[in-house]
Amino acid sequence: MNALSRLYPVLKRRRTAVLAFFACVALLSLLRVAHLSLNSSSVVFLPDADADMRLAAELLENSPMSGMLFVDVEAANAEDALAAADVIEKRMPPETARAVRFRVSGMTPDKTLRLLPSFFTPEAEATLTDALSENTVRERLRDARAALQGMGGTAAVPWVRGDPLRFRDVLLSRLPSGDASSVLSAFSRPVSADGRHSLLIFRPSGDALDASAALVMVQSVHDSARLLGDDVTVRMSGGPRYAAANARAIEHDIRRIALLSLAGLALAYALLARSWGALWIFLTPMAATAIAAAATACVWPVTSGLVLGFGMSLMGLAEDYAIHMHFALRSGQNEARVYQDALPPLTQGFLLNLSGFAVLLLSSIPAIRQMAFFSVASLTAGFLLAVLLLPFLPGFSAPKRLCAERAPRVVGRQASLFLSLIVCGGLFLACFASLAGVRADFSPRALSADGPLIARDAALMRDLWHLDSGMNVILTADSRDDALIMGSRCADALRKNGWKVTTPSDFLLPEKEAKDNCARWNRWLRQNEPLLHARLEKAAQDETFRAEAFRPFFDALPRDAAPLTADAPLLRELGLREPISMALFDQETESRILLSCSAQDRPERGADDLRAAIPPEYRAHALVFSPRFLETSVAERFRQEKTLLLFAELLALLLLALFLRRPAKVLAACAPPLLSLIAALAALRLLDLPLNLASLSALPIVFGLALDHGVMVTHALERGQDGGTRRAVVLSSLTAFMSMGLLAFSEHPALRSMGCVIFAGLAAELAAALWIIPRLYVKKGPGA
């Protein structure tokens, strides 16, 4: 330890160099942080090894679907539901979002005929050539007559006159049977099978992940719902619903808690530190966080925003070393003695924490590795600043008498093995019992504000609208045309295998194919138009139609038709461009195609069956997944990572044993972390909160702080000199409590569960450090 006492004069001699070094590091860090690239992607939460899952997450995040707001409108009947949906749509600010319609609308016979040439495949040609036979033409007109005579009545007139031979069947046969019959819907927008719900889908006009836009969207729907009264029930689901709920809750929490938190921190410093030098303590965690953020950004140029958020919450831990140094230096001892006495436990505490986070660097999940790296960097920076720099900053060490006067002298004590064994044994058992009683929910949705309410609405809407009743296949190609070809062939193969498939390749063909089809149509029409006229005229006479009855048909027949392109206005008129752009994506190239598949009457068929039904030549390009797989996968991965967390904590305890050596001392130092863990888990159980990602990430903070305090207090008791330790422990706990423990009163569930863990954990570790540990110590002597 003499070496440590010699450290102080060395540092003092070179303090200018040390200050210059840290100033440079801080400056460079700030420069790097100013250019920090953050992302909010969930891909970092998926293991590296699972390339498919990572790709699927990336694709899903880039898919326009992820920004959609789904609004279900329930009323007494379809008409009221549709009218209410109209009101909601009209009141939505157009600069924020616009309604999209995933259905064919405004389909008229002439538009059908305009579409036809691009889809005039050899099979379609064969079908229409057959339809020109005398018998078929007569049969079609007889059907048309029956439609006019029956329920169709006046509604059937445009179709009978505009497409008497049902050329539209060539187009409709491309669609799955269910979709084909819904093309001519009775309603302007989707209506549920029970006739009481209508569905509205909004697409954000700007950035799909913009929380303020999500707030405006959701608020607009809420306002409209209030206007519509109690007869109409409005439910929402989709990304913006979650984003808006979280943004609102966090904003509310910040307003409520931030002021209280700042006032509490100021009061804690004013009462316990009572020196302007304590301002350096305040700045230390900020500097440590900046250095850690810069270091993380050097390793991962694009850092996860969530990792940075977690890093901020580590400020309490980074500050701990500065507080201990501050009070130790003000305890009245000379500086060299302080370095000799206080540095060993401080270093041990630092290494214990470091070891725990270092273990997490082995995680298979990049986000956890980033968090671990950030924590290691932040703790190291905090520790080095506290030991190497702060003691030489003006005001940090004076006045020296303050603590010395008030610190009680505890002389000649050592931990009682018997008492420590009893107390810590009990705490160990209680800890295991608490772990068993806490329910875990690592689903990202469990962290959302209004989570249960949104989940309930989403479940209801899923059932009603079959929003995720099936599975998805994403095919990646080199170009849009290739994607369409792949999509079309895969859809054919899947349909033959009994899957119901919705794909944009039903509405849009590769350019070359459309061109060939148009040429085929133009040739066919030139050859067959006279025959068409003759046959229709004769059959019309037989079925009592007048000669001019089918003029609209002949007028609308497209002559010299051009192929339908992806940007054709007709696609927009019919509402087809929207479904196409939703399922044909990847920025501007549209080279990825989404196939929505459902197993129809065989729900037991899974992803493996679906993959097996994809033609072998496309399997390497295909990604098969169910819509909620990301949520379940992330939850499952984190459940697996729980073992690593436990290992990290066990390693920390093992190192503690190695550092402190004597079993009684080790057990005594274990009391704060164990009690904090028990209290945190008990609080979760009492408040019926699950152990989620937020509370799980708060545990290492509490555990680390408690370990530090356990080590510092046991050392102080052993050497018989408080040296400002108790005051440092109180201030350290109080500042962490004020900055994060008050989050227990948050409205946001993630912040609340994190706050609960910190609130209960800190209260317990403080009690253990200041009250339980001293009681495990007895006077040194033969009988001890």
Binding site: G153, P158, A180, A186, F187, G195
Partner: protein, 201 residues
């Protein structure tokens, strides 16, 4: 000038009186029809199309029973060919000739839309109707003509003719977008009785 003023006054009075008549008729019909919760009737349909040489005629049966316990609508064409549907609380069965089948989800949505319209006509809420249609007097003192305020692809107007006690609709007249006219006349109406076996397929 006096003549012009008299002419304007006459016009104003006439339109005001027509509006009063329409409102009175709507109220009477609403009061009369609101007592009807079940009906069984034969119907005869005649469709006149400008593009056909002869009118198209058909006949069939309409039944409905709208109680708290169950809502049933039965609509069947029997001549010249048998076809129809039966809607029971949202479940739909369709048939053509002897072939019967449950409706698919998409057909169900379509038919629910139709029955929804039908139920609204049956409930005959004047406030709701005036919101959606321009209402004017029809061809007879017991008729009202409804023109959709928003253009409909299906028809340009519907005219209803009521029974003298306003308890029943006796005639429905659809005018299509191409000036074709479909008239459905109901007879042998039995109001608020148990539905007979003839209303089951």
């Amino acid at each position: 000038m006096r003549v012009l003023a008299c002419f304007v006054l006459t016009l104003v009075c006439a339109s005001a009186s027509a509006a009063e008549n329409v409102d009175a008729l709507l109220e009477k019909a609403s009061a009369g029809l609101s007592r009807t919760f079940a009906l069984e009737a034969r119907f005869h349909q005649r469709a006149d199309f400008a593009f056909m040489d002869v009118p198209l005629e058909s006949s069939g049966k309409l039944c409905f029973s709208l109680t708290e316990r169950q809502k049933i609508i039965f609509w069947e064409y029997r001549e010249p060919e048998r076809s129809g549907f039966r809607w029971v609380d949202g479940d739909v069965e369709l048939w053509t000739g002897q072939d019967s089948r449950p409706a698919s989800d998409a057909e169900k949505r379509f038919l629910n839309g139709m029955t929804d319209q039908l139920l609204q006509w049956i409930s005959f809420d004047p406030r709701r109707l005036k919101k959606r249609y321009h209402v004017s007097p029809g061809r007879t003192p017991l008729s009202l003509r409804f023109v959709p305020k928003e253009e409909s692809a299906l028809f340009s107007s519907i005219e209803l003719t009521f029974s003298s006690d306003f308890s029943r609709i006796e005639e429905l007249r659809f005018t299509g977008r191409q000036e074709d006219v479909t008239t459905i006349v109901f007879d042998a109406q039995r109001v608020n009785g148990e539905l007979s076996e003839d209303c089951a397929r």
